[in-house]
Amino acid sequence: MNMSESSVVVETRNLTKRFKDVQAVDDLSMKVRKGEIYGFLGPNGAGKSTTIKVIMGLVRPTSGQVFVNGKPTSDHDVEYRRNIGFLPERISFYDNLTPIQTLNFFCELRGADKSIVPSLIKDVGLDSAANRKVGTFSKGMVQLLGVAQAMIGDPSIFILDEPTGGLDARWVKVVRDKLKSLNEKGATIMFSSHILSEVQMLCNKVAVIDKGALVVEDTIENISDHLHIRPRLWIQSSDLKNGLPGWIRSLEGVEDASVKGDSMLITCEPSLRLSILNAIQEKGLKVQDFKTLEPSLEEAFVKLLRDKGGY
C-alpha cells in the first residue's frame, strides 16, 4: 500500500498554542494516515503532550486547526472522539472506584457495551485487582488501567501519550504487542515517546518536534538512514590500553569504531553484532565485558538538528 495515497486520519494544520509565556506548539502541521503507527518524538517539554491535548479538545489552540477524518474538530461536535482511544500523559482515575466501576463509567460515557469490561481488565493483567480501589494502585497499574480504558468501544484511532511510561519491562512488552496487534487489525495509532528504540521498533512513520515546531516528519526507514540511530556495541578489554587495533575497522560489518580507556564502541548492523564479537575474540582480544548501548535521544536530536539542512 502506498502510504501517501491512503487517507489522512488525523491532521494538524498550522497549529499554534501559546501559554502565557511559553510557546508550546509552534505552527505545527502534520498528517497521520490510515493504518500507520505514527511515532511522535521529542525531548521533554517539546510540546508533544500539548499537541495531543489540542487534538483531543482538552486544550484550546491559539490558532490553527485539527482535522479528524477530514472534518475540522469543534466544541459543538464531539462525536469524533467516540472513535479515538485516548491515553493521557499523566493518567489518573477516581480513587474511590474499582477498575470495574471505572471502566463501566467510561463505557457509559462512550456509549459502549459494558460486557467487555472483564476481558479488558484481564488483557492488561489487572484481573486480580479488579475489585480493589484504584486509589490503592501503583503508578504502573493505573497506567495499565488507562490502556484498558483506551480500548473501550473498539476505536479505529488511538492517540496515546507515552503509553509505556511508568511500566516495568514485562508490561512494556504487553503494551507494545497490544499496539502491534491493534495496528494489524487495521487501527491507526499515534503515540508519543522519548524512547528512540521503541519508536524504531513499532512505528512506520515518525514526527520529531522540538520547541513546539516540527523538525522532521518521515518514514522510519528514511529517518533511520539519515540518523544512523543504531545501537552500538560496547566492549571492555584490558588489551585496548594501547588504542584501537588497526584490524578492527577492517572486520566485516564494522562501520565505525572508537576507543576510550579500556572500552571500545563499535557501530554496526544489529544483526552483525554477534559475528563481530566472535571475530574480535578469534583475533585474540580478551573481551571482559560487552553490552549494547542504546543511542540517547539527545544524541539523535543533536545529529538531526545538525543535518536538518538535508531535508
Partner: protein, 279 residues
C-alpha cells in the same frame, strides 16, 4: 448548541452514586434529622415544638450548615479532578463540557436536595405526629428554600472550581464565599452607622428609622435572604421579639427571585469559564 440529556445523566448519576457509596448522603440525612429534632426540643422547651418554632430555631444552624455542605461538595469538582488528571479522560469522551458541568451540578444538587427532603421531611412528619399540628405549606416552603440555598452555594462553588487551577485555591475561594454570607449583614449595619444611624434603633426594636436601602440586605446576603424568606413563609415578621415593618417589595417572592439569580449567574459564568479552560 444541543445538549445530550443522557450524557448529563451519566455524569449526574456518577456524582450521586459516589456520594451514596461514601456514606455522605446517609450522614447528611442523619445530621438534618438530628438537628431538626434537637431544635424542636429546644424550641418546645423539652418537648417537640411546633413547626414554626422549630424552623425559627433551626434557621441559625441550617443557614450555615447547608452552604458549608454545598461548598464541600462542589469546590473541587472541576479544579480537583483537573489537577489530578481524572477529568482529562472524561473530557476526551464524546461529551460536551457543558454536559459535564450540568451533570455535576445536577448530581451534587440532588445529593443536597435528596438529603434535605428526607432529613427535614421525616423530622416534619415526627413533629406533625407528635404535636398534632402542622403548617405543611410553610414547612414545605422552608424545605424548598433550603434546597435552593444548597443549589445556590453549589453553583458558586462550582463556578470557582471551574475558574481556579488548583484544588487548594478553590477551597480558599469556598471559604471566602461562605464568609461573604456571614459578613454582609455587618457591612450593611456598618454602612447604617456610618450614615448617621444609631445602634439604639436595633436594640430598641424600633425599625421605623431604618432607611429603605437597608432592607436590600437579604438580596445581597444569600444566607440572610434564606433565613428571612423562611420566616416570611410562616408569616413571621418578628426578629428577636420585635415586629418588623418591611417595605412592600421585600417579600418571599422577591427574595426567592434574588436567590435564583444568585444561582444562575455563577452557573452561566462557570459554563463560560469551563468552556475556555485548558486541561
Amino acid at each position: 448548541m444541543s445538549l445530550n440529556p443522557k450524557s448529563i445523566y451519566i455524569i449526574a448519576k456518577k456524582e450521586f452514586s459516589d456520594n451514596a457509596r461514601n456514606k455522605w448522603i446517609i450522614s447528611l440525612i442523619l445530621i438534618f434529622l438530628v438537628l431538626t429534632i434537637a431544635s424542636s426540643f429546644m424550641a418546645g422547651h423539652g418537648k417537640i415544638g411546633e413547626m414554626e418554632l422549630t424552623v425559627s430555631a433551626l434557621l441559625s444552624i441550617s443557614s450555615m450548615l447547608v452552604p458549608i455542605i454545598s461548598i464541600m461538595l462542589g469546590y473541587a469538582t472541576i479544579s480537583g479532578e483537573a489537577e489530578s488528571g481524572a477529568l482529562s479522560i472524561v473530557l476526551a469522551s464524546p461529551i460536551k463540557r457543558m454536559e459535564v458541568l450540568l451533570g455535576k451540578l445536577l448530581g451534587l444538587g440532588s445529593v443536597i436536595c435528596f438529603s434535605i427532603l428526607v432529613g427535614f421531611g421525616v423530622s416534619g412528619l415526627v413533629i406533625a405526629a407528635t404535636t398534632g399540628h402542622a403548617q405543611w405549606g410553610a414547612y414545605l416552603a422552608f424545605m424548598l428554600l433550603t434546597m435552593l440555598l444548597g443549589l445556590l452555594y453549589l453553583s458558586l462553588a462550582i463556578c470557582f472550581s471551574a475558574l481556579l487551577k488548583r484544588r487548594v485555591v478553590s477551597l480558599g475561594a469556598g471559604v471566602l464565599i461562605f464568609f461573604w454570607g456571614m459578613i454582609v449583614g455587618m457591612i450593611f449595619a456598618g454602612a447604617f452607622m456610618a450614615t448617621g444611624g444609631s445602634i439604639d434603633d436595633f436594640l430598641s426594636g424600633d425599625t421605623s428609622s431604618l432607611p429603605d436601602w437597608f432592607w436590600i440586605e437579604p438580596f445581597f446576603g444569600p444566607q440572610d435572604g434564606y433565613g428571612g424568606a423562611a420566616m416570611l413563609a410562616f408569616g413571621q415578621t418578628e426578629i428577636l421579639g420585635f415586629e418588623m415593618i418591611l417595605p412592600p417589595w421585600l417579600n418571599i417572592y422577591s427574595i426567592t427571585m434574588a436567590q435564583i439569580v444568585w444561582t444562575l449567574v455563577p452557573l452561566v459564568l462557570a459554563c463560560i469559564l469551563f468552556q475556555k479552560r485548558d486541561m
